[in-house]
């Protein structure tokens, strides 16, 4: 663990990213304390510029809702959607990838053609269609993002399984009579985790971006304040009120950047042999 942290910390960017990420998580966790009112509440006059009134450092939007409250409560939705949809995508991708890679043959062919079917459709277009069909809600958005983002996971896990299943330790397990399920779960899978974790951290970032894009297009859950919604709602007044779209935009940028930096740090820490020289 200490080694892990040492290797992670060698990447300065990753440490900064981790710092930002922790700040965002704290913001999300403390949102109900910082802003006990609903972020939808119209608390001040509309179009209040930032820094003009105490307690409204980020200004208000077209209806007089506090942008600060929107940022804090939006962080909850962005992180929630990012994490849950990644978990769902992982569970689909890892299962299919493991089965295909371990058993090979016809099953592998069938599962990979199925995966390719999803891979050939552009991610974002498919997500829009899915959300539009099932009506926008947190559940449908999480499912749509998961459904468009599992294929790379399946590909990755399958590749790892293909290379690991011919190793001696796996053959040894077969020889001593372990069941297939046991070999997959206890022998092979743990050895594929490092690249999967790295990929997952990047998937969270992509999921947050996807959710924001959907909300921007008006396909967000209308009952939850999110960063993408805030930008989408503010784009018609971009020229009068820059702050309404600027702050949530910065929030998305920082969070996604932080996740990418952390992902890179994890990569360095978990695959020391692949880590780039000169850090």
């Amino acid at each position: 663990m200490r080694d892990f942290w040492k290797r992670f910390a060698r990447n300065k960017g990753a440490v900064i990213g981790l710092g930002i990420l922790i700040a965002v998580v704290l913001l999300a966790a403390l949102a109900p304390l910082l802003y006990p009112d609903s972020p939808w509440r119209m608390v001040q006059r509309p179009f209040l510029p930032p820094m003009e009134m105490d307690g409204f450092w980020f200004g208000t939007d077209t209806l007089g809702r506090d942008i600060g409250a929107g940022l804090a409560h939006g962080a909850r939705i962005s992180l929630l959607v990012g994490i849950v949809s990644t978990l769902v995508a992982l569970s689909i991708g890892v299962t299919l990838g493991a089965l295909a890679g371990y058993y090979g043959g016809l099953l592998d062919d069938a599962l990979m053609r199925f995966t390719e079917f999803f891979q050939t459709i552009p991610n974002f277009a498919l997500a829009i269609v899915l959300v539009a069909i099932f009506q926008p809600s947190i559940t449908s958005i999480v499912m749509a993002i998961a459904i468009v983002s599992w294929p790379p996971v399946a590909r990755l896990v399958r590749g790892e399984f293909l290379s690991l299943r011919s190793r001696e330790f796996v053959q040894a397990s077969v020889v001593i009579g372990q069941s297939n399920a046991r070999i997959i779960l206890t022998q092979v899978l743990p050895n594929t985790l490092s690249p999967v974790i790295v990929m997952a951290s990047l998937m969270v970032a992509t999921a947050i971006l996807l959710e924001s894009s959907l909300s921007f297009l008006g396909l967000g859950d209308p009952n939850h304040m999110s960063w993408g919604y805030m930008i989408g709602a503010a784009r018609t007044v971009l020229r009068q009120a820059w702050w309404m779209s600027f702050f949530p935009g910065i929030a998305i940028l920082l969070t996604v950047l932080a996740l990418n930096l952390v992902g890179e740090g994890l990569n360095d820490a978990l695959n020391p042999r692949l880590a780039r020289k000169g850090r």
Partner: protein, 521 residues
């Protein structure tokens, strides 16, 4: 002085100069071109065939009807110069102008009027057809006199001669043909101040001055270009660049209106919608759930800060309605129970009704940002008063279907009232109009025997004093029952250059506005 303040000051200076200018030179100037936005592109320009708003807006300057209406909805002469009504309100006689020519040079006579009403529009115009059910007979007494005989008095009859409701259509072109497939449908022929010149699809519609117009000296403008610009932001930019001079109501997002109206030489008006008197409201499903209880529906009205929504979302234009009839419509009754913003009162009513926090589903109108923001504000108001509201996102198709199937608790909408309760109000409250599949009837499922009776009586009562009495009683009952939540008498803002004079003169605004407009340049 900030940039914004300077813009306002400039605009005011321009307005003052313009006012001074018009005081010195009242005489309208001849000549010039008007560039106007049309949004969306109309499906066609034959007014009798298409009742869509964009068709009305362009073709209202090509076609004419017997009358026009001023902004108080009083009739003005148009094709008819004089009219008489007999004592029991069943025979209407119109005397037509004798110097009116169609755009192809043929004279317009009483036969054209009879043909338009009894043949053409009776087939193509569903809304007029409903009014014509009260008409026994239409005949041409001579070339320039038309007589309508009614089965019984029909109160709103003098209000149906607006150009979009009864466009007079040329008999010599359409008689004996299939109206929908007539080759002349590509080239509208009317009697109005402007002739159709050219329509380049996706780009513009070009109208030119009618040199033989039957009013001496009119129109003042040489030509009108209607520009098709599909994107809201581009329409705003086109105005800023000076490419267009008029942005009719609804052509830019409401949140852009404040910024545009601060530009120099820019005037804004909410006028010109009196004939349509659009009113926005929320359907409340009276059939089931918490909203079946009258007290809960009243609580909805008390809980909404309607003034705030008007000021924040509609730029302060429009009036907060007191009941089902818009204050701009005839027989409006102001003396009804008021539902001013009072969340405490709403909470009391909810408690009294035993509302237990059951979820209420809200459908916003999927017509863009303005309506979305409005729904969010109303939801927040209601939640603060103790309602549990969840908003459901739909597209236009889904919205239509769910309203038609009564699958909603609350839903935003807006409808036209056409100046008279019998034309555009009672249709939403009488129990005979409860039917699945329409978004324009009694969607909320409100039933009250007395209201049904009064609505029937009001349509055929004579004279107007009698109708006022009937409709006043009806409005009091409906307001007390709060079957729907009236939100706003909408005034869609028309934005135009201040040196475009006399543009909005009638109750339908730019729809027939260019016949009188002139440029002070």
């Amino acid at each position: 002085m900030t940039k914004g303040q300077r813009a306002i000051a400039l605009a005011m200076a321009a307005a003052v100069t313009a006012a001074a200018g018009s005081a010195l030179a009242e005489e309208p100037k001849r000549g010039g071109t008007a560039n106007v936005v049309i949004q969306p592109e109309p499906p066609g320009l034959i007014m009798g065939l298409w009742q869509n708003a964009p068709t009305q807006m362009v073709a209202g300057n090509i076609y004419e009807s017997l009358l026009k209406y001023d902004q108080e909805l009083n009739p003005l002469p148009s094709l008819a110069t004089e009219w008489e009504v007999n004592d029991d309100g069943t025979v209407y006689t119109f005397h037509l102008k004798d110097n009116v020519l169609w755009h192809d040079g043929e004279p317009m006579t009483a036969d054209d009027v009879v043909f338009s009403v009894t043949d053409f529009l009776a087939e193509t115009h569903p809304r007029l057809r409903v009014s014509l059910e009260h008409v026994e007979n239409v005949e041409a007494l001579d070339d320039h006199t038309v007589q309508f005989t009614l089965k019984q008095p029909f109160g709103p009859f003098m209000g149906i001669f607006e150009v979009g409701s009864m466009p007079i259509t040329p008999k010599h072109i359409y008689e004996g043909t299939n109206f929908q497939d007539n080759p002349a449908n590509n080239h509208p022929i009317g009697t109005g101040p402007f002739k159709f010149a050219e329509w380049e699809r996706g780009s513009h519609i070009h109208l030119v001055r009618n040199e033989d117009y039957h009013v001496e000296g009119l129109p003042y403008l040489d030509e009108v270009y209607w520009h098709v610009i599909p994107d809201g932001a581009s329409r705003a930019v086109a105005y800023e660049n000076g490419d267009v001079d008029v942005l009719p109501g609804g052509s830019v997002e409401n949140f852009d209106v404040a910024r545009l109206s601060e530009l120099p030489n820019t005037c804004i008006t909410g006028g010109g919608w009196e004939y349509f008197s659009p009113m926005a409201w929320m359907w409340l499903n009276n059939r089931e759930g918490p909203l079946a209880d009258k007290r809960v529906r009243q609580a909805v009205l008390y809980s909404i800060d309607r003034e705030f929504a008007r000021d924040a979302i509609w730029n302060g234009l429009g009036e907060v309605p007191t009941g089902p009839v818009s204050s701009k419509v005839r027989f409006y009754e102001p003396d009804v129970p008021r539902y001013d913003y009072d969340p405490d009162k709403a909470r009391e009513l909810l408690e009294e009704a035993g509302y237990d926090g059951e979820e209420i589903r809200m459908l916003p109108l999927p017509y863009g940002e303005t309506w979305q923001r409005w729904a969010e504000a109303v939801r927040q108001n209601m939640q603060e008063a103790g309602f549990n509201v969840s908003m459901e996102a739909t597209d236009v198709g889904g919205w239509n279907q769910r309203l038609g199937d009564w699958d909603y608790d609350m839903a935003f909408t807006y409808l036209y009232q056409y100046g008279d309760p019998a034309l555009g109000v009672t249709r939403n409250y009488i129990s005979s109009n409860i039917a699945k599949g329409s978004q324009w009837n009694n969607v909320q499922g409100y039933e009250d025997e007395r209201v049904d009776e009064l609505a029937d009586e009001g349509a055929v009562a004579f004279p107007d004093e009698k109708r006022q009495e009937i409709y006043s009683e009806m409005q009091k009952i409906i307001v007390e029952d709060a079957p729907i939540a009236w939100l706003l008498e909408i005034e869609f803002p028309t934005i135009y250059r201040c040196d475009m004079k006399d543009l909005i003169q009638t109750a339908i605004g730019v729809n027939d506005g260019f016949g009188d407009a002139w440029l002070d340049r």
